[in-house]
Each structure stands twice: as structure tokens, then as C-alpha cells.
């Protein structure tokens, strides 16, 4: 594969990545069977309940099944404020999930820290792990969450999730052989 990898940026992996039919098929399967690990910490959890509850019903999108073991889940929903004390736990949960995995930052606290800018609130979960979709709102409305889920599905289908890209990049580097990169 005559690629010259001059950089290891994730965006380039996306550029080089060509989806095979198999990729497309497996990504189609992945996007409709998301197993969620709800990392619920705070107020957003109430809205997460509503999303999972009868009226908004996340089951319509194939993501209703919360798995409380990170090893069995592929979507990490960070629901609520992440604090410095929580950071190691979050990172550990993320590390325990198997590839491919995706992350949604649910609410403004998980995205940027929101109006908690202080010594203990982390300014966004992306300080410690990569995030695929950010949902604004304090807390977001359930409709926003469903919208974010659909956005994530698009991303999964096109193979542009963080972990998909990272896998692709590693693959490309391996194919390019030693001495490159």
C-alpha cells in the first residue's frame, strides 16, 4: 500500500481510510445496537432517566440497553459533572471498554465544565478521554440527546468515531511497514 504516512494525526487517518463493504456492513450493525454505559454522576441523570423512560424512549434507536460493565458496552455516556476526584475512575472505565467505543458528553458540564469553573470541577470530560459528540444544555432536553445519538450513528456509519479512526491509523501504520511514520 504505497502510502506515505508523514503524520500520525487522526484526521489523516480519516482521509486515507477507505471503507470496505465489510466495514460498511459492520458499522451499520454497530450503530443500531449501541450498548450504553451510563456514567451518571449528576443532575443530567434525571434527564437521562427521562430519555430512557416511556415518553422519549431511547429504545426506538436501539440504544436502550444499559450495560453496567464497561467491558460489555461500546457507548460511554458521561452524564453530569466530572470532578478531579472522579477523573481516574472515568479514565479507568473508558480504558476498560473494548474497541470500537464511542463517547458522548451529555450536558454542558461533561462538555466544558459549564458554570462550574473551580478547583474541583473538571473543565470537560475531554480533559482525560476523547469525546465524539457533545450535547449542550444544562441539562439537555431529551430531544437533544436523541439528536446527538443520531449524529453519533452517522459518525459510526462513516467510520469517523475517535476509536475507529485510531484503529484505522494503527492499521495504516502497520501496513506501511517499519521505517515509516
Amino acid at each position: 500500500m504505497g502510502l506515505e504516512l508523514t503524520t500520525t494525526r487522526l484526521e489523516d487517518a480519516a482521509k486515507w481510510a477507505k471503507q470496505s463493504t465489510l466495514d460498511r456492513a459492520s458499522n451499520w450493525g454497530r450503530k443500531f445496537s449501541l450498548f450504553t454505559y451510563p456514567f451518571v454522576t449528576a443532575c443530567c441523570g434525571m434527564e437521562f432517566m427521562s430519555v430512557a423512560g416511556p415518553k422519549y424512549d431511547i429504545a426506538r434507536f436501539g440504544a436502550e440497553f444499559p450495560r453496567f460493565s464497561p467491558r460489555q458496552s461500546d457507548l460511554l455516556m458521561i452524564v453530569g459533572t466530572i470532578t478531579e476526584k472522579q477523573g481516574p475512575a472515568l479514565k479507568r472505565v473508558f480504558d476498560q471498554m473494548t474497541e470500537p467505543k464511542w463517547v458522548i458528553a451529555f450536558g454542558v458540564c461533561a462538555s466544558t465544565g459549564g458554570f462550574y469553573q473551580n478547583y474541583h470541577a473538571m473543565p470537560g470530560a475531554d480533559q482525560v478521554i476523547p469525546v465524539d459528540v457533545y450535547i449542550p444544555g444544562c441539562p439537555p432536553r431529551p430531544e437533544q440527546v436523541l439528536d446527538a445519538l443520531i449524529m453519533l450513528m452517522d459518525r459510526i456509519q462513516s467510520g469517523r468515531g475517535h476509536s475507529q479512526l485510531r484503529t484505522k491509523r494503527d492499521q495504516l501504520i502497520a501496513e506501511a511497514g517499519p521505517g515509516e511514520g
Binding site: E84, K85, P88, Y119, H120, Q127, V128
Partner: protein, 193 residues
């Protein structure tokens, strides 16, 4: 009702009480630090007081206390006498309630910065166990005789006491190294003093 409690307290423990005041109907008694445990024991056991229920314990850091727009006339705050520039920096506050008499009382203890200790009341009211740990965690007040004085909200690696007025609000002490982040020089707010 609050006046009755304060009068009884003064009558029984005159020497241990620095001063008493009432603010917005809340009874407040300033207790000499060394006598706090004795006064509290009496408050709990005396049938006329019967402060059986603890409400909260906390601390006030008066580091930059400069009340403004104070109405003219004698100072409304603090009403207790003897307050000058070299006043103690901290005030430890205990709020008590009596289920029988329904009265409430706030005990205050002046605590200087260089000797930030008070006797623990957790042996009298178990609820103060965690409340005092919280006060220790946030203000660095040490409670003599506390069975388990550890940080409660923050982690052991945390340096300093965040609710002190001189702790910068946004001074974070991360537990997870942020390697993947774009390089931001981590600055210590306030710089070199």
C-alpha cells in the same frame, strides 16, 4: 425564645461565654474555645436546654471581611465586643436544635490562624463527625479528639484548603495527567507573591 436560651447559657456558664447576640432571630453565643466541650455537654444534657439534635457545623474565614454600606451608628456586625484588626481569622460555627423545646442555638468559636484547632463535638453528636471532617477538608481546622479526621470531599493528594479566602477559585490539582491535550502552560493563578 432565643433570649431565654442565651440568658440561661450566660447564667450557667458566664465565664465561658465571650458574648451573645441575636441576629434576625437567630441566637448566637460566642464560646471560649477551651470551654466549648463543657458548654456543649451542658447544653445537651440540661433538661431545660436539651439540644439533642445537631444541625450543622461549619467555619467562616474572615480574612478579607470588609463589610460595606453598613448603616451609620454603632456597628451592627459583629455585635460582639473586642473585634479589632488582629481578630482571629476563623470562626467555627455549630448550630444546634432541641426537638423537645424547639429552640435553636448557634455556637461560635474564634480560632486564630496559627493555631487552628477546636475541640471536637462528634462525641456528643455523631452527626458532627462528618460535618467536622468537611470543615477540616475545606478550611483546615483541626478538631481535637475527632475519631477519623480525613479529607471527605477532596482527595488526599489535594494541597491546601479550598474554602479559605486565599485559595484561588480555579486552582485545580488534577489527578489524571492531561497528556493528549494541546499544550497549555499550566499557570498558577496569582503567580509569585
Amino acid at each position: 425564645m432565643s433570649a431565654k436560651v442565651l440568658d440561661a447559657l450566660k447564667a450557667a456558664h458566664g465565664a465561658a461565654i465571650d458574648s451573645v447576640e441575636t441576629q434576625h432571630g437567630d441566637a448566637i453565643a460566642w464560646v471560649v474555645r477551651d470551654r466549648l466541650l463543657a458548654v456543649a455537654t451542658w447544653l445537651k444534657s440540661d433538661p431545660a436546654m436539651a439540644f439533642d439534635a445537631p444541625v450543622f457545623a461549619t467555619c467562616i474565614d474572615r480574612l478579607d471581611w470588609k463589610p460595606i454600606d453598613v448603616p451609620p451608628g454603632p456597628p451592627v456586625y459583629p455585635a460582639s465586643a473586642g473585634w479589632t484588626e488582629d481578630r482571629p481569622r476563623f470562626e467555627v460555627v455549630y448550630q444546634l436544635r432541641s426537638t423537645r423545646h424547639r429552640h435553636r442555638l448557634r455556637l461560635k468559636c474564634a480560632v486564630p490562624e496559627h493555631d487552628a484547632r477546636v475541640p471536637s463535638l462528634s462525641s456528643l453528636w455523631p452527626a458532627f463527625n462528618w460535618q467536622e471532617r468537611e470543615t477540616f477538608d475545606m478550611y483546615g481546622i483541626s478538631f481535637d479528639g475527632h475519631p477519623d479526621q480525613r479529607r471527605i470531599y477532596l482527595y488526599d493528594e489535594f494541597v491546601g484548603y479550598p474554602l479559605r479566602k486565599d485559595y484561588p477559585k480555579e486552582k485545580r490539582q488534577p489527578l489524571v495527567r492531561r497528556d493528549d491535550l494541546p499544550i497549555n502552560p499550566i499557570k498558577v493563578p496569582g503567580g509569585h507573591r
